[in-house]
Amino acid sequence: MRFLLNLFLMLVIALAVGFGLSWYALTDGRLFGAYQSGPWTAWTQSGSPRRPLHARLPHPERRAAARPGRGLQLVATTDSDGQRLDRACRYRIDGRTPTATFWTLIPVAVNGASIARADGRPGFHSARVARANDGSLQLYVSKRLSPLNWLEITGDGPFSLVLSLYDTVFFSGVGSNETSLPSIIREGC
């Protein structure tokens, strides 16, 4: 009887660990080879022939991160305090972006759809934002009118911010990577 109980315990643990880890790798998987800096996550090895096994799994963010031509995509699902991004709140994206030919910042829903106003711009573009004299940025994402660079979003529920860098030197060892990603600050809901 004790042998059967131990065997049952072993099988339960095996199934929980095996399928639990697999489920995590398919739905989030940031612990498996993702680069994280503050709220931003990037799958830097997507598309590489030497990418690890977990980076080969079919995952929307990983397949999107396979940007050729020295491109990179960073995704934030939380603000800098770790709270889930919510469309009912106003967020300020504050700081600097890594060196790149250009970048875009798009707010998206869970299915990847842009949640910007339908008759407006889909997101921020580096060539069309106002900057401070020192080159820093203050971008606002909210449903209500905001100062400076404002992107109006629609709908309710959680969302993500997708920062796409094109022709970037991020991860090439040039400059300071850690300090060049902007913070995401919740200003009110």
């Binding site: 095996a14 759809a113 842009s114 069309r128």
Partner: protein, 168 residues
């Protein structure tokens, strides 16, 4: 008690083995990979522009709405592929993928190619035959490739102006 702990450790090891089997087999079994979606939606080998995702529309491939994407499916069993054309002055990049999503080759407008693209795509046997050609060569182990070309889209009209014109 010691025996129970050993069974628990055995369960963890067995679980890791299950996880390894899952992540090794899943990419082969997945029917919603980018490659299979391209094959389903673009049966011809001519370059196809992917529709730019509009706000509110599902965007499973996570395409950037500020960028235009053109995709061409190439079958190298019938001979080498090529991607000729004139490229815009704005940012562009060309990449060659295999069916697993691995980037075999990529280039951008900053690599000094100029505006006229002359990219040849060969398998290893074809590469040996054409080693003396003065063209860019991308090689790989598989017989099918996807060439993706993307460029920065022109600036869209300012939303404030469009609202104003409608109000008039």
């Amino acid at each position: 008690m010691v025996r129970t702990i050993l069974y628990a450790i055995g369960g963890i090891l067995l679980g890791l083995a299950i996880h390894l089997v899952v992540i090794l087999t899943l990419p082969r079994l997945a029917d919603n990979s980018v490659y299979s979606q391209i094959v389903r939606s673009m049966p011809s080998t001519r370059p196809n522009f992917w529709p730019v995702p509009k706000p509110g529309e599902a965007n499973p491939l996570r395409l950037d709405p500020n960028v235009s994407y053109a995709v061409c499916l190439l079958d190298l069993t019938d001979g080498p592929g090529d991607s000729p054309g004139v490229l815009p002055v704005a940012f562009w990049s060309i990449a060659v993928y295999d069916r697993t999503g691995t980037v075999l080759y990529s280039t951008t407008n900053r690599d000094g190619i100029g505006r006229r693209s002359s990219l040849g795509i060969f398998d290893p046997a074809q590469t040996r035959l054409l080693a003396e050609q003065k063209i860019d060569i991308a090689t790989g182990a598989l017989d099918r490739r996807i060439a993706q070309r993307r460029r920065l889209r022109p600036h869209p009209p300012r939303p404030a102006a469009s609202r104003h014109s409608r109000a008039l």
